[in-house]
Symmetry: C2
Amino acid sequence: MKSIQKVVLIGSGNVATQLGLALDEKGFDILQVYSQTHAHANELAKKLNSLPTNQINKIRPDADIYIISVSDNAISEVAKALPHENIFLVHTSGSTPMDIFKNNWENYGVLYPLQTLSKSVKCNFSNIPLCIEASDKDHLNELIKLGKKISSKVLHINSEQREYLHIAAVFASNFTNHMYAIASDILENKNISFEILHPLLDETLRKAKRNNPVEVQTGPAMRGDKLILDKHLERLSSLPAYQKIYNFISQSIYNAKKH
Amino acid sequence: MKSIQKVVLIGSGNVATQLGLALDEKGFDILQVYSQTHAHANELAKKLNSLPTNQINKIRPDADIYIISVSDNAISEVAKALPHENIFLVHTSGSTPMDIFKNNWENYGVLYPLQTLSKSVKCNFSNIPLCIEASDKDHLNELIKLGKKISSKVLHINSEQREYLHIAAVFASNFTNHMYAIASDILENKNISFEILHPLLDETLRKAKRNNPVEVQTGPAMRGDKLILDKHLERLSSLPAYQKIYNFISQSIYNAKKH
């Protein structure tokens, strides 16, 4: 197959936006942007000097790759509605197996950027791990070539690995942010700014990155310090949802230690 | 009272070590280091060009401040064993009220460094928030002066606030690290390096610091994406402890959203 140059973006959300910006910046031709909602297609197409459409049967036949960045449960449906055969189709989902394309397509793959992206904040794509998989060696090589133009971290990851990677990312990012949110709320109740925790958060992450996080676990649960644990649970009695989480995660930390 | 210059350190653990190093570096005289275990007192005293003792009745009477950095449940007992009256006594605990000293002492306070410290890793103390409280205005002012010599972030925090600050720190640091540890373990099972998550972890923290973390919550639980949640729970069925946490925190994120 020839090198990928011409791209059609299907979707206009966070991933489509940031991936589109990165591809455009590196000289790829974004031929067209599709979204169900014309205003959304239009908004992203403008940023990419591209053309919008909200009619799936108007999608052009001449792109080298069609990148589907829609919600997981819509990927299959959108793919089936495409008016062309023999095109190279990839999705960008962490939790959807590549085989979703198997029965209806010959050339397909996955291009999953492992990062929390938002439409409005321009990100530095070169630092984002790109997890790549494809139906055959040729398409894998072409995807890797494309990936390497926009990121320094291109990885060949199969569908099963990618699914567990997504689960790990939920723990390490979504759940971690929820812990920050609870801390912020507890402090707000006592008129203390969340900022006071920033140096601690920096250091916690720095330690976890330098070492195996299991080995740098600290705190009352790790020490089995029942005096503090009981005191904290008592203080959280007016915030029962947080009390329950405190108790639950403390037990998990303590149990992990015993293994 | 006169400015604090001469210090006795009671304890030789992580906090005593790092606080001692910071005070020594800024020109305070560390007269003596006490630990139950002579080898520990000796090890820290050496680093501070100070003198070790493991006999509490040999503690000198002429320091301007006695800093007790021992485990929370030993603070009271160690204080009572001191052979001197009319000394200025502080502890460094997040979860122990200042009033623990009230019945036996006249001049006392708290100097709580809000950071995860270890003996072996030299830290930059100037960036660490120091939470300060004292029995009276004069001692508060002297403690603030001492604090400002070693840190740019000195805060007057009362005992109740400090206790909730410690609880918030457990959520934001200890529990966060446990989330990292679970993610790392899940990846290891699939032969993927935890390093692949580093850019995501950086970005998650950066976002939470720039915004209110409640407002930047993302992920399947936040979206109420039952398809993904069920898939993840099913994949975690061979890791029941993680499955339970996944379910529990996802519910907490979803409930927080509804408030």
